[in-house]
Symmetry: C2
Subunit: 371 residues, 2 copies
């Protein structure tokens, strides 16, 4: 009998995955959630133009999508005022992070990120044998100075920072991020994850040229554009780096329907303004629900809000479990002291009302459990 001969690296990797989906939880629970507020999806949905474009494209799904993603890249280059050669489209930021790690990491190469930052980045770094070095958060935010100091020590291939941050929804002015570039060690590429930046205050997007070779910026249609299910992200970077993606990426990886939907979403600038207002209103609504229950919401530059449950990580975990039992799907940060919070995605009023109804009881039961 033939043995399966995995590489030593892959054989050594754990079986864990970055995120368990709400569908898995629903199967385990035996019933659906009433409010899906845990994955930082955008329950307000995409532009109606995008929905119409995708519905129309369903009949064309017998054709492969354009492997160059040409029309979408042209539109993105136009939107960002850069060249098409500075844009690569991939299967979500997750897919692009995996390809990037493959492009630059050899086993043993150092990588810098923050303790408690995006786990899927860590998943891909580990998947190519990179060695993670982690700086702590400071005041519930990623700490540029600590990240740079750590980078000077370990001289990493990649330095990851998300702005705005996930899971805390905090942000730095884009100028702070741009200033970091002058202090990167030679040979370190900054991975700037701007997944949420369209929803952040003016000035949060880093004022950096798309072809700056010191940084690659990750963007997505999953958050502000409400198209998480389409699986389309993109990266902006220097042309030689962007060109290298073509050497190894899955060229036919993007659904043709998703190409049509994202192109339509990008064209609907009116909807984008409307969406920023809906999300801002929903952040306030979540903060008000928190306050009604004696909890405090942290400031948010994203489409989710970190709510401080007022205790330790175990207490916040209990609140999350009780919300889950009450059919409200939320998630929470994993690392202290941020783990005192739960993380609630913005969404339409029906979901907000369900949250408002469920939270008092969930808190009561969590407090009973912690007695």
């Amino acid at each position: 009998m033939t043995q399966i001969r995995l590489t030593p690296l892959v054989a050594s990797l754990p079986a864990t995955v970055p995120f368990v989906g709400p569908e898995t939880q629903e199967r385990l629970r035996g019933r659906p959630f009433r409010a899906r507020l845990g994955a930082n999806e955008n329950g307000f949905g995409p532009s109606p133009r995008a929905i119409a474009a995708m519905a129309a494209a369903a009949g064309e799904a017998w054709m492969y999508g354009d492997p160059e993603n040409h029309d979408l890249k042209v539109a993105l280059a136009h939107a960002h005022g850069c060249g098409v050669e500075n844009v690569v489209v991939g299967e979500g930021i997750d897919g692009l992070l995996g390809t990037l790690c493959r492009m630059v990491l050899k086993p043993g190469d150092a990588v810098v990120t923050s303790e408690g930052a995006y786990p899927t980045f860590n998943f891909h770094v580990a998947g190519f044998g990179g060695v993670l070095h982690k700086a702590p958060y400071r005041n519930d935010a990623e700490d540029p100075e600590a990240l740079l100091a750590l980078a000077q020590q370990v001289r990493p291939k990649l330095l990851y920072i998300a702005n705005p941050d996930n899971p805390m929804a905090s942000h730095h002015p884009g100028a702070v991020i741009a200033a970091m570039l002058d202090h990167l060690p030679e040979g370190t590429l900054m991975v700037l994850d701007e997944a949420y930046v369209e929803l952040a205050p003016e000035g949060t997007a880093a004022p950096v040229a798309a072809d700056d070779p010191r940084v690659i910026r990750m963007r997505t249609f999953s958050k502000a554009h409400g198209l998480a299910g389409a699986r389309v992200g993109y990266a902006l970077g220097a042309a030689p780096l962007i060109a290298a993606f073509d050497k190894i990426r899955n060229h036919f990886g993007i659904s043709r329907i998703s190409q049509a939907g994202t192109l339509a979403a990008l064209s609907d600038t009116t909807w984008q303004v409307y969406m920023r207002r809906l999300v801002a209103a929903s952040r306030d609504r979540i903060a008000a629900i928190a306050a009604d229950n004696g909890l405090s919401a942290l400031p948010s530059a994203t489409n989710f809000v970190a709510v401080d449950c007022g205790g330790d990580g175990a207490f916040a975990r209990a609140v999350l479990e009780e919300l889950t039992a009450a059919d409200i799907f939320v998630r929470k940060p994993a690392v202290a002291p941020m783990d005192r919070c739960i993380r609630i995605s913005c969404g339409p009023e029906a979901e907000m009302a369900a949250l408002a109804k469920a939270l008092p009881g969930a808190l009561d039961r969590a407090r009973e459990r912690s007695r």
Copy 2:
């Protein structure tokens, strides 16, 4: 200025890609094709149930797809009479081949395939530093004996064979493929690409248990199911091998709309029977068009037909170029002696009529050029 530090392996890879899409050709030509018959897409389209399911799912695209692809995997396991633990879903067979290469190949590892076989497999092997060893085709078909003899020599990690074959549309009885397993060297995994098998004669699918550890079988929704644009393929294999995909794959890589469409397509067995008949009729139609022009069509077990242009590779290339100039998109094998053929995908009568109209003139002009 920071230099981009690609790994030596990625830096060494060429900039070439496995396939240039028809959209790229259309942009270069400045006008669209009249008949899209080059990419072995299925112009008859998917089940109307699948189209309806995808159109309905467009409104749900704000949600990530289930990262476990649970419902689809359960349906596939049921269809194949195997366990869910024997099924993994990926971004087309292309995506799965890439992940598989990553799982088993270290730089320098040997891999066996056929000269002229699927180039995207070769792309991924090279992308992980594998060394390709190629057996020649025999009688326009992959040669099991030559592949096994080469495998005994080089003791590869992977042995790739497609049945039915692409680009020649030839096939072996499934029993021949199954018998190969008894002669694989210790430590060689067979990669059996059955992308077209639903369209092949009865008995072409290899009679092999899904959990046989000597083989991993690749299937797709792109061909018989008419959903190339959805980007969904799957692999059947032994549970430990299938589980290893989870250690490294892009868990959120499949579009939610594609999940809905493929699940609906799988349920429509009536449509699948209808599709096999349409494709069989179209194969005969292509053969008749070839015969009308003094050319011979090779027997086909797929949704495309290799047509022998009656000359050498340069002549077939000229025919292809003249068809392209007449707005007919076809492709051709790259390696002699198969390169004497052009490869024409099955499709609806409008495309067949366009082909029939364009072929005589294309042949005349190609013959003029070769004088």
